[in-house]
């Protein structure tokens, strides 16, 4: 194993893949930044009393979770410019597709969390005169956060690996960079190096979530 024994060669490989790592991290953080709040909005609309809000959200969630992310990526990158006057940069299209896809998953996780809060919590708030916004932001949401950390962490770990799908529309992310290096050096070793990098990223994700879990352990449900 060339790269794993030769620090100099490894350093050079990493330098060649640096752009790819940055792009992967960009996709990762941009997706989370958009899809988590968007997922909350979708969850709330999905639980609305009004059918006109509820049904489109159900359909949205069904399509996003029911079709391959790769297909959604193609659809947004190729079909949107054909049907609308918008042309999208590859990276932007990737982030849009990922954000829309992950928002659907997060929405279902958040909905499950919100629906698991006992109705007595809402009744206590009403009797104490809290407004709807106060009830949600101070009483319901903090309890929901604690209940969804685990399923959310699962999605985030999947997201780290899913970023490699952007390679199919030729976004120069980590996996593509590794593939390029592999064909240039005529060895698949760069792909394994990329694998280790994904693993390290998920190590960081895992540590971050277990810290969060510990921080939320000050009370039990």
């Amino acid at each position: 194993m060339h790269y794993f024994n030769d620090p100099h060669a490894l350093l050079q490989l990493l330098r060649a893949m640096r752009g790819g790592i940055v792009t992967t991290l960009t996709i990762f953080f941009a997706t989370l930044l958009i899809s988590i709040p968007l997922g909350m909005v979708v969850a709330l609309l999905r639980m609305s009393r009004h059918k006109a809000l509820r049904l489109p959200m159900s359909l949205y969630i069904l399509v996003m979770r029911g079709t391959p992310l790769m297909l959604q990526l193609f659809a947004i990158y190729f079909a949107v410019p054909m049907l609308t006057p918008f042309h999208m940069d590859r990276l932007v299209a990737t982030i849009v597709a990922f954000a829309l896809n992950y928002a659907a998953y997060f929405a279902e996780i958040f909905r499950g969390g919100i629906e698991s809060i006992p109705v007595g919590q809402y009744e206590a708030c009403r009797v104490l005169g809290l407004s709807k916004v106060q009830t949600f932001s101070h009483i319901i949401l903090p309890q929901v956060v604690k209940r969804v950390v685990l399923p959310v962490s699962n999605e985030v770990i999947t997201l780290v690996k899913d970023t490699s799908l952007a390679n199919v529309i030729a976004v120069a992310e980590l996996f593509r960079a590794a593939k390029n290096e592999a064909s240039r050096a005529a060895t698949i070793e760069p792909l394994f190096v990329a694998g280790v990098i994904y693993l390290l990223m998920n190590g960081v994700v895992t540590i971050a979530f277990s810290r969060m879990n510990r921080a939320l352990a000050y009370y039990k449900d």
Partner: protein, 251 residues
């Protein structure tokens, strides 16, 4: 203080309240007793607007919350005014409904801050006084998950008192508790009665009802069947209906 007149409430096909009338004057303690399913909780929930009534009127402090319109159906005040009136009432639940992510102290300060807009210092001062009153000053920093049922219920009482309600309602405040813990909660309510707080207490504790309540109301099948001084309703001259009910609950 509170006038509820001819309250009707149905859930789908079943009519749960069939014209309930209830008046409570200032400083009075009213106990409501009755079989399971007789509509006691529903009545309290209607008074506190956790349920909307189908027909009837409710007024607190002489101000109407809801009354029948010309169509014979209940019409509520606009939300904003209603909220103000509802704040004159507090409700203590059977299963406490404390906020699990807040400490005992935060449970008692939260609504003071958010609803009454009291300053953090004022809210905290008030909360500590009330926690002391219910015997839990030393538990102020504990979370509900670390408190016993009786302690939770006492925090819930402090939380309700912190809003300075003119009328405090209790829905079977001790039926989730074992006898030992029941007594510590009942003694808090007894203390409140001594202070001449206006209260409505739904309870299965007949001894408590007889000793603490000024008036006892017996409900059956969504109606008030008896309404009188505690010693009349539960005393030796009690009616046949009460005699039978008391037998069922082992009183």
């Amino acid at each position: 203080m509170l006038q509820a007149k001819d309250i009707y409430k149905r859930f789908g096909e079943s009519e749960v309240l069939k014209g309930v009338t209830l008046n409570v004057s200032r400083g009075e303690v009213v106990a409501i007793i009755g079989r399971s399913g007789s509509g006691k909780s529903t009545l309290l929930r209607c008074l506190n607007h956790l349920e909307t009534v189908d027909a009837g009127s409710i007024a607190i402090d002489g101000q109407t919350m809801v009354e029948n319109g010309p169509d014979g159906r209940a019409h509520y005040r606009p939300d904003k005014e209603l909220r103000g009136l509802l704040l004159k009432m507090g409700l203590v639940f059977q299963d406490y409904n404390l906020f699990p992510h807040y400490s005992a102290l935060q449970n008692v300060t939260a609504a003071q801050r958010m609803t009454l807009r009291r300053s953090p210092q004022e809210a905290e001062q008030r909360a500590m006084l009330l926690l002391e009153k219910v015997g839990l000053a030393d538990k102020a920093g504990e979370y509900p998950c670390n408190l016993s049922g009786g302690q939770c219920q006492r925090v819930a009482i402090a939380r309700a008192l912190a809003m300075d309600p003119e009328l405090l309602c209790f829905d079977e405040p001790t039926s989730a508790l074992d006898p030992q813990l029941t007594q510590e909660v009942l003694s808090v309510i007894r203390q409140l009665a001594k202070e001449k707080r206006t209260m409505i207490v739904v309870t299965h504790e007949m001894n408590f009802a007889r000793d603490v309540a000024d008036r006892v109301i017996y409900m059956d099948g969504g109606r008030v069947v008896e309404d009188g001084a505690a010693q009349d309703v539960l005393g030796s001259a009690r009616s046949e209906a009460i005699r039978q009910f008391a037998g069922e609950v082992g009183y």
